[in-house]
Amino acid sequence: MDFNIYDFTSFTTWVHNALTSSMSPGWAMFVELAIVGVVFIAFYAVIGLYLVYAERKVCALIQNRKGPNRVGPFGLLQTIADLFKLLMKELIYIKNADKFLFNLAPFIVIIASFMAIAALPFAKGLHAIDLNIGIFYLFAVSSLGVIGILLAGWSSNSKYSLIGAIRSGAQVVSYELSVGLALLSIVIFSGSMQLSTIVESQANGWWIIKGHIPAIISFLIFLVASTAETNRGPFDLAEAESELTAGFHTEYSGIKFAFFFLAEYMNMFIVAAIAATVFLGGWMPFHIPGLDGMNHVMDYIPPFVWFMGKTAFIIFIMMWFKWTFPRLRIDQLLKLEWKYLLPLNLMNIVLIAFIVLMGWYIK
């Protein structure tokens, strides 16, 4: 076995061969699934926790405070402590709530975000499945989470929750369109929906650079729409604290609340990762044609770091949004989508199709 940090293909094939040679194919598949599952759960937990920490730090930075700084060095252990607090808390059940759906809802939300992680290419050869319709799959599963939100809001039997859930449903269903169309623009550029192919197609430059104006437009639309789709500020009407207490998860407590909380941050991570993969080249290092020296230096940075760095950059932008802009009203939110983003997006798609047809992009 040779473990190469720049290319995980040999490593994963080695694991696969080792497993298939030592047991029957059925069991090998099962063990592989289990390994992937365990790795993802661990990854999920760590990322989730540290995104919460990052959010609090970014918020503090913008509000000119210090943020968490007591538990552990720089407050790094703060969210772990919070997690333990949530685990210890009593689970409160509301009278007249639909028990089954009330318990089911957090799982639907978290499963939806879990399904999305499976398709992300973290580094060369390092992704769980490389579907030939990868982007489309991400788009599909990211739309499943809203069912959990709607159920949570409805089953709580509380007005705040219901209003939050309905807002969230309207919001997600609307902004899904813009997210999908923005991704479609890059599908037109790269001619493939497979994430690995899309990443490979950016070896000589990221799409946001190669696709110039229309790609930048769709990148911006994607940023706005995906912020809205994940119910994050300034589009966090579903859980507008000032008016709805906490929106759809008002009645949740303890670990179930933690699920929603975690899922929200993971959705942000997923969306940022999609943006990084599709627009910013995924794990591809930053290259400038001609400057070979710099390109070599860039190549030394492992792909995984590139991927996480780009994702972190976009996450930072999204947090910046949240702590800078005031919250929209629901009618403004829907107007923004249906009257501005969607027509703009459709025109942009036509423009891109034309540009690709004429070959007016950097090949």
Partner: protein
């Protein structure tokens, strides 16, 4: 693969039954979602990944969300359905059962039937699907745009608030 097929079919049938049997409409919607997801699984077994994902996006992601929406807004959760007379139920059971019997009896003879078309594992891939859609099925594809346009006009027309 056969095991997966039977598993998915079992889930699909069971959840489809539960859609009809469960008292609360919101539970029906949940079971319908399960049913659609297992049908998407069938598409994947046929290597039609694109169709599977379209199925999830359209049915689970969009239509079911709209269903949930309507049920929530109308607060349809009353479990007391309008009472139907015994005669109606009896007739429904008889006619449904007859269709069932006929289909079962007809399907029994299918065992020795010839395969009408060889299964092509690549047909469900998005490139092939697109090629078929934009060449052979060009007219139905374009014609359905008229269909969707009229549905959209209808939604706007009926949904728009106007004064008496």
């Amino acid at each position: 693969m056969a095991f997966l097929f039977y598993l998915l079919s079992g889930i699909a049938l069971l959840s489809a039954l539960m859609v009809v049997l469960s008292k609360s409409p919101i539970n029906s919607v949940i079971y319908l979602i399960v049913c659609f997801l297992s049908i998407a699984g069938h598409y994947i077994l046929l290597n039609a990944q694109f169709l599977a994902v379209v199925h999830i996006i359209v049915y689970t992601g969009a239509i079911m969300v709209v269903f949930l929406f309507v049920i929530m807004l109308l607060n349809l959760n009353k479990t007391n359905e309008p009472h139907k007379s015994v005669l109606t139920k009896f007739m429904a059971v008889i006619s449904g059962g007859m269709l069932f019997l006929v289909l079962i009896a007809a399907a029994k003879g299918v065992n020795e039937m010839i395969v009408a078309k060889e299964f092509d594992a690549n047909i469900g891939l998005v490139a092939n699907l697109g090629k078929v859609l934009y060449t052979d099925y060009m007219i139905p594809f374009e014609a359905s745009s008229v269909l969707f346009l009229s549905a959209m006009i209808g939604a706007v027309m009926l949904g728009k608030k106007d004064k008496k």
